[in-house]
């Protein structure tokens, strides 16, 4: 009987996390079959993508909380971010470096609030079909955006001839439209390809470069924080029956988490020590080179030192957004969102302004998406004016789903896990394509397949589970009921 129940539990666990498990399997498989990755190159890729996309994925959580489902409409927010960047880059000489980036945030915010308000209005009008509406509004707004930058800029709004942001035209022809791609401008300190430093610092990596630290130090700090969080939560849970009933973390699960986290922490602290020591050596003895030191350094320390330094400020922004979402869910507005998300009718009867709450949730999501887009582009350093926004919605949604979220339930944890796993898939898929089809390009198609596949599978599973929950109540021979009927 007990084995039966635990078997049932394992089945339920697998089913609940099937998307995450498939992705994990894919990534591990890709890692095994490929010989192009070193641990450091893989970590580098994944870390840069994590910081690039973090805020965009987080922007999806609040609409899910408010029952709007997967908000593909974050594209609209991304467009607000893009517009602000185009504006600031047009006047680039006036706003160098991080100042320009901050101005982008400032300009994008009111635009995103307006866009979010309109999108929210639309969702209220298309009640019950918000996800479809959000998809379409993304395409629609993208079209408007393209027309605006292609024809209105220059066509109606006058622009300077020969400006580096404007399509070049022949003498005597009216200059119209923003170029199909432009650079964010290299930041102070980074060299151009020809070895020259920019005369006016640009916005590329302006946020990232504010403060970078060794990856391994950051890992130590983060794993220490997670470790402390797990322990404190456990103590709190033991003390408070209300929390216990909500969390109900079994002992084995706690031990497992602590063990994994502890191992990472120990590894990070140990490696940090090594790295710190050898860097000091290098600094104190300028006449020796890394090569001279090699015999003394173990291989993995070399490998770790190859991982890029991580952008602390960007990380702090992601953490702040994550904390904001957790905080938000504990506010009155957050509680209202959850009420509305569970039942609009009951929330309405209880006097909650359902429409307004949904609009606010959409606005917050749109503003976060606008900021997320700016962070995304400053990390990329290069803007494809008319295409960069197109996949933002799909990729972000796919990422949060991979992290275990559904159309009705999402957490910051889902977003974080999803970010790492989804982009790990992105990185390994060329390798898998090469191995399976003997063609690296196949990986491209594999990515597309995985992105839309995960969205389809998640939505399908979500509906299937909801139906199954209803059906389960109607099964004749439920475990436990059989014996009851037998006597």
């Amino acid at each position: 009987m007990t084995t039966n129940i635990s078997g049932e539990k394992i089945r339920a666990f697998l089913l609940d996390n099937i998307v995450t498990i498939i992705f994990l399997g894919f990534v591990v498989f890709g890692f095994i079959v490929s010989d192009t990755f070193t641990p450091s190159s893989f970590t580098n890729d994944i870390i840069s993508r994590f910081f690039r996309n973090g805020v965009l994925v987080l922007s999806l959580i609040i609409p899910i909380m408010a029952g709007l489902g997967l908000n593909f409409g974050i594209v609209v927010g991304a467009l607000a971010g893009l517009l602000s960047i185009v504006f600031v880059r047009y006047h680039y000489a006036l706003f160098p470096g991080i100042g320009g980036l901050l101005l982008c945030f400032a300009i994008a915010t009111p635009i995103a609030i307006l866009f979010g308000f309109l999108t929210g209005k639309l969702y209220n009008k298309t009640r019950g079909q918000e996800m479809v509406a959000s998809l379409i509004v993304g395409f629609f707004a993208g079209g408007l955006y393209e027309i605006f930058l292609l024809f209105v800029v220059g066509g109606i709004i006058p622009v300077t001839r020969g400006h580096r942001m404007i399509n070049p035209v022949a003498e005597g022809v009216r200059p119209v439209g923003i170029r199909s791609s432009f650079e964010m401008g290299l930041p102070a300190g980074e060299m151009t390809g020809r070895g020259f430093q920019n005369e006016i610092p640009g916005m590329a990596r302006a946020l990232n470069n504010l403060w970078r630290i060794e990856f391994i130090y950051a890992l130590a700090v983060v794993s220490l924080a997670v470790f402390a969080f797990l322990v404190i939560r456990r103590i709190y849970m033991k003390k408070n029956p209300a929390v216990l009933s909500k969390l109900n973390e079994p002992l084995w699960s706690f031990c497992l988490k602590i063990a994994v986290c502890g191992a990472i922490l120990a590894f990070a602290i140990f490696s940090s020590g090594q790295i710190y020591y050898w860097y000091n050596e290098l600094q104190n003895h300028p006449y020796i080179t890394r090569l001279d030191l090699l015999p003394g350094i173990s291989n993995f320390v070399v490998e770790i030192s190859r991982v890029d330094r991580v952008p602390v400020v960007t990380g702090m922004v992601i953490a702040a957004v994550g904390l904001f979402i957790v905080y938000f869910s504990k506010t009155k507005l957050g509680q209202d969102c959850r009420s509305v998300g569970q039942s609009q009718q009951i929330a309405n009867v209880s006097g909650i302004d359902v429409d307004r709450t949904r609009i606010i949730a959409t606005i917050i999501s749109t503003v976060l998406a606008a900021w997320g887009m700016i962070i995304f582009l400053q990390d990329m350093g290069h803007v494809s004016t008319y295409t960069v926004h197109r996949n933002i919605g799909f990729f972000s949604v796919a990422a949060i789903l991979v992290g275990g979220a559904t159309a009705a339930r999402a957490s910051v944890k889902n977003a974080m896990v999803g970010l790492l796993l989804f982009h790990a898939m992105f990185i390994v898929s060329p390798a898998v394509g090469l191995f399976v089809f003997n063609d690296g390009n196949a990986g491209e198609y594999m990515r597309t397949f995985m992105v839309y596949g995960v969205i389809g599978v998640s939505l399908g599973l979500y509906v299937w589970k909801a139906n199954k929950a209803i059906k389960d109540k109607e099964r004749l021979d439920r475990p436990g009921v059989v014996s009851e009927a037998g006597d």
Binding site: A242, T331, S339, L476, E484, A485
Partner: protein, 532 residues
């Protein structure tokens, strides 16, 4: 004469020309339990919607007349305003969020905000709604409210998965948690409860009214009204009939006022009818997985032309029998009709075998609420017998209408025309449409479940007489499931009492009420009862 808490003064309301309330005036005193009773369509729900400021009232043009609370004119524009005035309502459908804890539900949209410095700063910066909530305090308040109702369940349990009776209490706890609550409206609160749950609810109502909170108690159950109410107001066809002190009246008189004519559902003839010994339907060891109405091994035989009653308390499995046989829920067992075995879990084959079913769930199973009456009536017959189709296999509108008109006359369905949507009909008329649909199938065996649930006494009588007539004149075999023993006794030839998913016993209709009562509570082995 004590001062009135609430006064309705000449309330009138019409929905697009249809007068549903006409000049209704009565008053509620502080701390009394005031029963409000009326047939379906008498206007009780509309009156309460007006009091509670439901949006449906304002979107349809408001109402006439005045409502005075403590002598002051009030007009709630929204449920929230009504709540602010100290009026609470427990709806027939539960207004509970399943994914929330009991405490969160009790405090729904009345959450307590933390009053610390951080909150003061954030609320000045970003508005009141960005204040964090004090879940500890909310749990504590919920505990107090639950204790007042003698509920020992933990306040942080999720509502998802609670028994229905508990949900009702959570609803009431929410209302009494409102410190300013003066008036509580309970709309058919006992309809979904078992007898013992209903009894504890009545007790809770007495406790609440002792605290000085007036209760408007809407119920069909006369015995509950006489047991708990101080005064009773009767509405009929949207008009005020009378308000009486309960101690000066009795159930029979209330029923009379309600229908305006003498009504009895007494058995017309006391002697048992002659019924052939031929067994039409035989049920052996039936198990049905209907949630909350599980059947766990039921066996009985129904003779040809008999009206076989199935009674018992709510949740004991009586509803599961008909639903299981008809294939609505997974079932297992042996069913034979005229010695031919009936396949289970295949509704189509069951219908083909000449069985028809009037479900207890009118809105979900019984009717296509967005379709017209005539379409509803012929729908099953068309699907299983290909009737009402012309040579091109298209629906034959003339035939459909003729049949619908015949049924409307026969069953006295009150409607604007046979093209009216069934969703707009009152409960009783909807039920009649369901019966008409089953009759159009021309079944040999008719299952009816709760045929009179939510129906006024006049319509009740009509439906019961109709069933009797079908059995007497057309020789139809009828299996009727009902929660109301009196109605089973009035027309059935034998009555099976279901308890805990099994047949506790089968009694003749003239058996003493005590016997029925004992069987319902599962006591089988008193004089004459079946031993197991």
């Amino acid at each position: 004469m004590s001062r009135n808490l609430l006064e309705f003064k000449g309330i009138s309301k019409n929905y697009s020309g249809n007068q549903v309330l006409h000049d209704v005036s009565f008053d509620i005193r502080p701390g009394e339990i005031h029963a409000l009773i009326g047939e379906n369509g008498a206007g009780k729900s509309t009156l309460m919607n007006i009091l509670f400021g439901m949006p449906v009232i304002h979107t349809t043009g408001g109402y006439e007349g005045e409502i005075e609370l403590n002598g002051e004119k009030v007009e709630a524009k929204s449920p929230f305003e009504a709540m602010a005035l100290g009026i609470g309502m427990v709806h027939q459908e539960f207004m509970l969020i399943p994914g929330f804890t009991i405490a969160e539900n009790i405090k729904l949209n009345r959450e307590i905000e933390k009053n610390n410095v951080k909150n003061k700063i954030t609320s000045t910066l970003f508005g009141r709604r960005m204040k964090t909530l004090d879940f500890k305090k909310m749990n504590k308040d919920a505990r107090i409210a639950l204790d007042k109702l003698d509920m020992s369940i933990e306040e942080f349990t999720l509502v998802k998965g609670l028994p229905i009776g508990y949900m009702q209490f959570v609803e009431i706890a929410r209302e009494i948690d409102k410190t300013e609550l003066k008036l509580l409206v309970l709309d058919e609160p006992t309809a979904v409860l078992t007898e013992s749950e209903a009894e504890s609810l009545l007790q809770a109502m007495r406790n609440i009214s002792k605290r000085g909170i007036a209760i408007i108690f809407i119920s069909h159950r006369l015995n509950e009204i006489t047991a708990v109410a101080d005064r009773v107001t009767i509405l009929r066809d949207g008009e005020f009939v009378i308000t009486k002190d309960v101690k000066d009246t009795n159930a029979l008189e209330i029923a009379e006022y309600m229908v305006g004519r003498q009504v009895s559902i007494e058995r017309t003839s006391t002697e048992a009818r002659e019924i052939s010994d031929e067994i039409k339907l035989s049920v052996k060891d039936l198990h049905v997985a209907m949630p909350n109405e599980r059947v766990k091994g039921v066996s009985f035989d129904v003779r040809k032309g008999e009206i076989f009653g199935i009674g018992g308390l709510a949740g004991q499995g009586k509803l599961g029998i008909a639903n299981g046989i008809m294939g609505m829920y997974e079932a297992r067992g042996n069913i034979t009709i005229d010695d031919e075995s009936l396949p289970l879990n295949d509704t189509r084959k069951v219908l083909d075998s000449g069985l028809a079913f009037v479900s207890e769930d009118r809105k979900e199973v019984g009717l296509l609420v967005e379709k017209a009456i005539d379409y509803n009536i012929m729908f099953t017959a068309m699907n299983i017998k290909s009737e009402f189709l012309n040579v091109f296999k298209m629906t034959d509108k003339k035939k459909i209408r003729r049949n619908a008109r015949k049924m409307i006359d026969m069953l006295d369905i009150r409607c604007t025309s046979e093209r009216q949507h069934t969703g707009r009909l009152s409960g009783g008329n909807q039920q009649k449409v369901c019966v008409a649909r089953a009759l159009t199938q021309k079944p040999t065996i008719l299952f009816v479940s709760e045929p009179t649930r939510g129906i006024d006494i006049g319509a009740k009588k009509l439906i019961l007489d109709l069933l009797l007539e079908l059995s007497r004149d057309k020789g139809m075999t009828i299996v009727m499931t009902s929660s109301e023993l009196a109605e089973l006794c009035s027309i059935c030839d034998r009555i099976a009492v279901i308890c805990e998913g099994q047949v506790a016993g089968i009694l003749p209709p003239d058996a003493s009420p005590t016997k029925f009562g004992l069987l319902m509570s599962g006591i089988k082995d008193l004089e004459g009862g079946k031993h197991d």
